[in-house]
């Protein structure tokens, strides 16, 4: 896919999993600069940077917690200062702490809402200014199928992911006049570290509910993200694109 030449992209939670796949997809599509953020896994972040550079992009890894709204602002300011612009923001960083509603601790609720939802808000708030000045940009929020259909044991996670869909639609309306498109992707069951802890029984049960009969892979989510960021999606904003093998239609 062409059209990313000279574009500067930020992918949060970009050291591994879906975030890494997204970052790599942009690098392979010709983005000049791909910046990833990561919370703690320095080795994985550096490995991703190496992969991005091998794909021909300028690459940078920024260590910050997206739940820290001041850090989000500084990160965006730094990117605009260093690279001159910010064209694409992919809000991918997320955490899941599973538990039934009766047993969910306040701090686990807060951690998931702060990282998954407030972090996306803070980065959108920071990125909207340079994008408005540029009169263009694309924002993609990585939501989840559980934000659409709910999931026992994931009350906070699903609430945060449903929140991202509302955030996506409202910001899409606010920024449309500046040619900034805002969309969400709602992945289903994707083979990443985040789902590797599920036991076999639960895994089999979930596979039974997926018409395509398998887990998705991070590259399949990245393909949807790349599409939504590209000119091929120039008339799409406020959309939530399902990438779930048919498990929820």
């Amino acid at each position: 896919m062409s059209g990313f030449k000279d574009k500067v992209v930020l992918v949060t939670g970009g050291s591994r999993g879906i975030g890494r796949a997204c970052a790599l997809a942009f690098a392979k599509a010709g983005a000049s600069t791909v910046v990833i953020s990561y919370a703690g896994n320095e080795a994985a972040a550096q490995e991703t940077v190496g992969m991005l550079q091998a794909a021909g992009a300028k690459a940078e890894a920024l260590k910050f917690d997206v739940a820290d709204t001041a850090a989000c602002s500084s990160a965006v300011e730094g990117i605009v200062k260093t690279h001159g612009r910010l064209d694409v923001l992919v809000n991918n960083a997320g955490v899941a702490v599973d538990g039934l509603v009766m047993r969910v601790k306040d701090e686990d609720w807060d951690k998931q809402l702060d990282t998954n939802l407030k972090g996306a808000f803070a980065l959108i708030r920071a990125a909207s200014r340079p994008m408005m000045k540029q009169r263009g940009g694309a924002i993609i929020n990585i939501s989840s199928v559980v934000g659409e259909m709910g999931n026992g044991g994931q009350v906070a996670y699903s609430a945060s992911k449903a929140g991202l869909i509302g955030l996506t639609k409202s910001v899409a309306k606010e920024l449309a006049s500046r040619n900034i498109r805002v969309n969400a992707v709602t992945p289903g069951f994707i083979g990443t570290d985040m789902v590797s802890h599920l036991d076999d029984e639960l895994r089999q049960k979930m596979l039974g509910g997926i018409p395509l009969g398998r887990l998705g892979n991070p590259e399949e989510v990245a393909g949807a993200v790349l599409f939504l960021a590209s000119d091929a999606a120039s008339y799409i904003t406020g959309e939530s694109l399902k990438v779930n093998g048919g498990m929820y239609m």
Partner: protein, 80 residues
């Protein structure tokens, strides 16, 4: 900063933000009706002035800034 320096700076921020010529910017010019601003432009203008003059313009005050003169007066009154 002198009053005339403030006026010059405010006009240059408006010209830059709204893409209009400085000669079109009169104290009585309404941002929305005369200078073609929309609600996002107003927010950007307010933020640009906050940064330039190191003042905080609360939302309820910003709502009353409708003309170029309103903006200049606000900065003159609140600039430390």
């Amino acid at each position: 900063m002198s009053t005339s320096a403030i006026e010059t700076k405010v006009k240059s921020i408006i010209a830059d933000q709204l893409g209009v010529g400085e000669d079109e910017i009169k104290p009585e010019s309404s941002f929305i009706e005369d200078l073609g601003a929309d609600s996002l432009d107003i927010v950007e203008l307010v933020m640009a002035m906050e940064e330039e003059f190191e003042v905080e313009i609360p939302d309820e005050e910003a709502e009353n800034i409708k003309t170029v003169g309103d903006a200049i007066n606000y900065i003159n009154t609140h600039k430390k």
